[in-house]
């Protein structure tokens, strides 16, 4: 089931760190990983990345993989350079309190699909 990023933010009670203008973007899939090489093997469009890895390489990886939204779990600190780079690429960054397991579970329950 397609879901807007606004719905994702609501389900996770997440804070929108940037990309407020793109919250109507729709996704079908989600992938949870802290391993960026694993993310770089994915071939799926309209996919959300759920990660606990909060550094510039997470944003770069999303940029190369054509991923438009990243959810940072466990309130991981997202730095200004990360936000700047995300804005440059019209990306939406969300931050939530949930663990990666819970965030994934909540979105799965609401109909986001896994890619494997």
């Amino acid at each position: 089931m397609a879901m807007t990023l606004k719905e994702v933010a609501d389900i996770l009670d997440a804070k929108v760190l940037c990309g407020e203008d793109h919250l109507d973007y729709e996704i079908d899939f989600a992938f949870s990983s802290d391993l960026m090489s694993d993310v770089l093997t994915t071939q799926t469009d309209r996919m959300l990345l759920i990660t606990g890895l909060a550094n510039v390489q997470a944003i770069r990886t999303a940029e190369m993989s054509d991923i438009h939204c990243i959810v940072f779990v466990r309130n991981k600190e997202v730095t200004q350079p990360m936000i700047d780079l995300a804005r440059e690429n019209s990306m939406v960054l969300l931050q939530c309190k949930n663990s990666m397991f819970k965030a994934s579970g909540l979105l799965y329950e609401k109909g986001l699909k896994p890619i494997f």
Binding site: S37, T41, Q43, A58, M64, D66
Partner: protein
């Protein structure tokens, strides 16, 4: 169209800059987004490899109407056993590299999967040369 970028070993802040620039150029040239993704995944993984394992390096990009050639030359320890380095899951990455979300031994196999031509050569204690070609048609 030719471009050149310098890479510093250990500089994770700027890792991905060249890939980002190349992505912008290919978008402007209206290259198929699926092909752009293959190109930048190869280049980004290769860039991270240089940052993770070498002292310094240079990326040479050569774009024609038919293909993109990417050559990464680095100065560093080199790769003693290329067959082993190509094995999925084999890695010599430091814990600092792993903290960046890499270093699981997936980079080189992923580059090979996305490349039409892949050529890796290395001299121990001198450096490594990786050549990647992706065709646009």
């Amino acid at each position: 169209m030719k471009f050149e970028y310098k890479i510093e070993g250990g500089d994770f802040t700027h890792a991905g800059y060249a890939s980002s620039q190349v992505k912008k150029v290919l978008k402007q040239l209206n290259v198929d987004p699926k092909l752009i993704k293959r190109v930048v995944v190869c280049l980004y993984e290769a860039e991270v490899n240089v940052v993770a394992h070498a002292c310094s390096g240079t990326i040479y990009i050569d774009i024609s109407t038919e293909r993109i050639k990417m050559k990464l030359e680095d100065k560093g320890l080199g790769i003693p056993d290329i067959d082993l380095a190509m094995k999925k899951g084999y890695s010599t990455a430091s814990s600092a590299v792993r903290e960046m979300g890499f270093g699981a031994g997936m980079g080189l196999p992923n580059i090979k999967n996305n490349a039409d031509e892949f050529n890796l050569s290395s001299v121990v204690d001198q450096g490594t040369v990786l050549e990647i070609v992706v065709y646009f048609k």
